[in-house]
Symmetry: C2
Subunit: 438 residues, 2 copies
């Protein structure tokens, strides 16, 4: 391209760029013809001026075109995909992926690693002995043809522009721009090739989007991109004021996901799995409507088909499938488990179990990463024993802390003390209703 | 510094940074600890969010502190300085500097080179045989102690942060930000050490500021920075709809400046010289008020003191002083001089002599630079023979084109045809009144 400066200046003035101009800019950046500092200036202009729907779709498509894309010629299953904007204790994919495959869908879920107070699905899965997330593309494709599902890392061959752009956004204060977030999410979904996509857009203290309004805005942009690219796309808005389920920490979350597949998991995790899965079943034509989709998922869980599919998936990805039913003790366990309670002076009802604060407690235990190069401890974490609206007796534990040692447990206690708040008056449970966009 | 990202994000949200934070950011950039891409993001955030007066002053002072500063201990003359935001045909410094020195001031004028349609004082001066603009700091200081003035290039020892910041703004679409422009201008003036500063803020087609309103905004920021730094500072707003004076081109402009020092120059150039100089004489205490200052400048011109001081300045800077009075023909002259006229179908009055278009004509002749590495031709240019409001007869030349050859002259004619516009009705002359800020 000749020069990025006129494009930067036009975006600075709030004008929209054409699809061709956006493609030239992005391709120039990927080819290192447009230097970092010009891309940084453009990213900041986008952060402050926004992008039109047409621009956001064009940027997303240009990002898709920066690398390989997956398609599934001859596959006799409908392809589905799911993305979550990330939260604390979110192990939904580990429940949903095998259930959807058991229902007849093809579901390749590419996930990331955790950073900061939110966990990553890959870190959770790698707590299963032997489990491998980084599969060669051909091996992954063969697995999907055989069993209908895979839980893998983001392939570096897909959307290289996203990795480069995200790295620059991370160091230039331009992470929290709705069109840039949307293009990043949707470019990876579009490149992965599924025809039906459900997006779990979380809001609340533990989520990237702090308010319901911000989540609605992002959801509508995501859905418009998906529709513009010809994919069935819906977004579900779900609250993240307290963690999803009780377990926060890698092996602890795998355990809870398995429990949920066998009917013994927490209600909120199962409710979200049903919500997301029923949309996918309806969109992909595997169920005539969402209600039938829910019934299918309940039946597959109750018959054990979901748990058996998870065993097959773990086995296909070189892990030990006995963790699911036969030998749950193969999952790593922390040497120290200490109950956490508060002395609350007559206050009896849980008013807050702040997701971010509980995520910080798990981080303090070593369950997550403060920087990208940190190692995670698969065994440690927090398991909540009380949730918003619960009545607790004096001294009753609000959570169990699974720690490497007493010092780490004390650090986690300090974080938990700021995360929990008790009220002298009864409160309703934090059952924020789901909203659907698309 | 730890990280620039929080500072970038706060400016993105429209918050003001503290003086210490701005100093850390700028020092980090100069030390190459803050990379270009972070500075670029911050520059774009400033372009779109602006800066408070306190921030602009703090940034300016941080830029000043990035390099050496001049001071003048024991000098028995008041120090003055002047800056113009740049126009077409602006040779005011060459008239004003020797006159102010003759009036008893110390005047070190540091100037730049031309780029695009505007010329640079250094390029003009270097059309004088032997003239040297790049003096070692100590030689320049000795010259000022001896004769009271110098016309030199911007010292690279002063404000290195400005050069780095400007280079980045130039390639990131962040040139036209008022606080960034103001910090760039004022950091150089503050570092040069003068106690009284006059700013010529131009507006109109040939200027950086296209409208009077934009010029007022910049002027008020410049004056507030100067006042905040404890310097006497005033800004004069002057129109740049048509070139200043008649000559546009390096040696042609030197000739016109000399004519003005001997009373034979164009009225608008002399009027601006009087306006700027009388403010400086009043601010520096060399005249009790502006009216007396004007009288002093007229007297010094009429006595020939200004012309004699220019001879001394040229001689001190290794040029041939005979160009001023004794041998004007020592200045380079173009081999081809062709009159330019238009066939205007009964239209008799000059309605437009667009400064930018005439600057483009001079550029086409080789008088300026399209890119920083171009060489300039000292001899060529345009001399206007009619100005806005003048009545012209059919075929009467509107300008003379001084060219290297006929092809170049034709190119200049094409630019002039779009620059000049004649009207069938009489118009007033374009005597935009000066406005003073500060």
């Amino acid at each position: 391209m000749t020069s990025a400066v006129p494009l930067i200046e036009r975006k600075k003035r709030g004008e929209a760029l054409s699809a061709g101009e956006l493609r030239a800019l992005l391709n120039g950046f990927v080819a290192k013809e447009v230097p970092d500092y010009q891309m940084a200036a453009w990213l900041m202009a986008v952060s402050l001026r926004g992008m039109t729907d047409d621009e956001t779709l064009a940027l997303t498509q240009a990002m898709v075109e920066s690398g390989a894309t997956l398609d599934w010629p001859g596959l006799d299953r409908p392809t589905v995909d799911k993305h979550s904007t990330g939260g604390v204790g979110d192990k939904t994919s580990i429940v949903l992926v095998p259930l959807m495959a058991a229902a007849g869908a093809a579901f390749v879920k590419m996930s990331g690693r955790g950073l900061g107070h939110t966990g990553g699905t890959l870190d959770k899965l790698e707590s299963i002995p032997g489990f491998v997330c980084e599969l060669p593309l051909e091996e992954m494709r063969a697995q999907v043809r055989r069993i209908g599902c895979a839980l893998v890392g983001q392939s570096p061959e897909l959307v290289p522009a996203d990795k480069m752009t995200y790295a620059l956004r991370d160091v230039t204060g331009t992470v929290d721009s709705v069109p840039l977030i949307a293009a990043s999410i949707m470019s990876k979904k579009l490149a992965a090739g599924a025809r039906s996509i459900v997006l779990d857009v979380k809001w609340g203290s533990g989520a990237f989007m702090q308010t319901l309004e911000q989540a609605r805005e992002l959801a509508s942009v995501l859905v418009r991109i998906g529709a513009g690219a010809g994919r069935g796309t819906r977004a579900v808005l779900s609250g993240m004021r307290q963690p999803l389920g009780g377990a926060v920490g890698n092996a602890l979350e795998v355990r809870e996901a398995i429990d949920t597949l066998t009917g013994a998991g927490p209600a909120d995790l199962w409710a979200l799995t049903l919500e997301l899965g029923s949309h996918l079943l309806e969109m992909s034509g595997l169920a005539p409507d969402a209600a039938e989709g829910r019934a299918t998922l309940v039946r597959l869980r109750d018959e054990g088909a979901g748990a058996r599919m998870l065993e097959r998936l773990i086995e296909a990805q070189h892990g030990d499938p006995r963790v699911v039913v036969r030998s749950p003790d193969l999952l790593p366990a922390a040497p120290v488990v200490r109950p956490f309670s508060v002395d609350a002076d007559g206050a009896r009802w849980v008013a807050a179990a702040d997701a971010r604060g509980i995520g910080e407690a798990a981080l303090a235990l070593g369950a997550g990463r403060r920087t990208k190069t940190d190692a995670v401890d698969p065994a440690v974490g927090v398991v909540l024993r009380a949730r918003i609206g619960d009545r607790v007796e004096p001294g009753q534990p609000l959570a169990d802390v699974h720690a490497r040692g007493d010092d780490a447990a004390e650090q986690a206690f300090a974080a938990l003390r700021t995360a929990f708040r008790l009220s002298p008056d009864p409160l309703p449970p934090a059952g924020d209703p789901y909203e659907t966009v698309g």
